[in-house]
Symmetry: C2
Subunit: 174 residues, 2 copies
DNA sequence: GGATTATATTTCACTGATGAAGTGAAAAAT
DNA sequence: ATTTTTCACTTCATCAGTGAAATATAATCC
């Protein structure tokens, strides 16, 4: 384990050197991109590490949280696919895993019987309420030293970037 | 494909609702964390998509770029493991893949014969110089609308977060 | 000089993602 | 009314990426 800091240092120097050979390289943008990739990976690894004791992976956790956050605690596989950015096949597997543990139930949709209604159970809610709170101190530590302004700026910048990424994907030209 | 924007909107509302049930939830921090995860995943998917035509995955690309960025174009598996955040097993596989394509060569290290010296070849350098430039316009578009100050702030915030993540991992308590 | 440590590779196995085909139900066409 | 088409999800088979442990070889340390 070498730490993000050292990787970042190395990345800075590396991109600077590449930039000397290839001056057209957008140096700052490339650095930001690598930074985001590193931090994103680090964050994801950390989260999965926290979830492992509960035998949950990221997509299962996210799916369960989406259901928990719903006013009526229910959704459909298709909708969950979209919001959890998962393929239908995976969502089936996730549903299997969660329902096997009694955290959700699958039922037939009343209005459209092609659809499957997925609902979080009381046990599922209790589970979330048990798993979530231990994550809070870690969240606080992550943003240690971030002022309210920092957080607002950060949020703003990330949302702007997300918007640009959406544009990129809508318009495949560049 | 539903886009990051919609996912973010849904996440905002979801976390707000969860926050009403669980007031101890650090709302803004949780949102920032999810934002970073989404943007990070989006960025990674985009990069892998760009690399696919060249039959490279992210870790192979990163490894090759590290070698390219080195003043002498060489390193060792162990060092590459650290900077590419990969296990030794994977680095062997990456080395196999890259050397099979003639982009790198493996040789014995002069001073320590336990070590393997990995060096980028002339063909490897040409390959990087072919693959890299088409990525630039995409990088520029990603940070469209970002002022110089925006980029500096963004970089600063990401580095601060990376530092906090390192602290978290060094000190496993929280 | 034998034990220990360091470096890299191989083997085996796992997890999660993905694609193709299948099932059952609703909607549209005839 | 029946057929066809489309949709929502599932099943099955497969694959890519990764990780842990055993192995081989070389350096280092009493």
């Amino acid at each position: 384990m070498i730490g993000l800091g050292n990787c970042i240092e190395m990345m800075d120097e590396g991109i600077d050197r590449v930039n000397q050979v290839i001056p057209q390289l957008p140096r700052d943008e490339a650095k930001l991109c690598r930074l985001l990739l590193m931090v994103g990976t680090g964050l994801e690894e950390d989260l999965e590490f926290q979830l492992k004791p509960h035998k949950l992976n990221h997509s299962e956790f996210l799916t369960l949280m989406i259901l928990y956050s719903r006013p009526d605690g229910s959704s459909t596989p298709g909708e969950l696919c979209e919001f959890a950015s998962q393929g239908a096949t995976n969502m089936t597997r996730i549903g299997n895993a969660l329902s096997k543990r009694g955290l959700i139930v699958r039922g037939a949709s009343a209005e459209d019987r092609r659809r499957v209604a997925i609902r979080i159970t009381a046990a599922g809610r209790r589970f979330v309420q048990k798993v979530l709170p231990p994550l809070f101190p870690r969240l606080d530590t992550m943003f240690d030293g971030f002022s309210t302004t920092d957080k607002r700026n950060f949020s703003h910048l990330l949302r702007k970037l997300a918007h640009n990424l959406d544009q990129l994907h809508a318009d495949p030209a560049p």
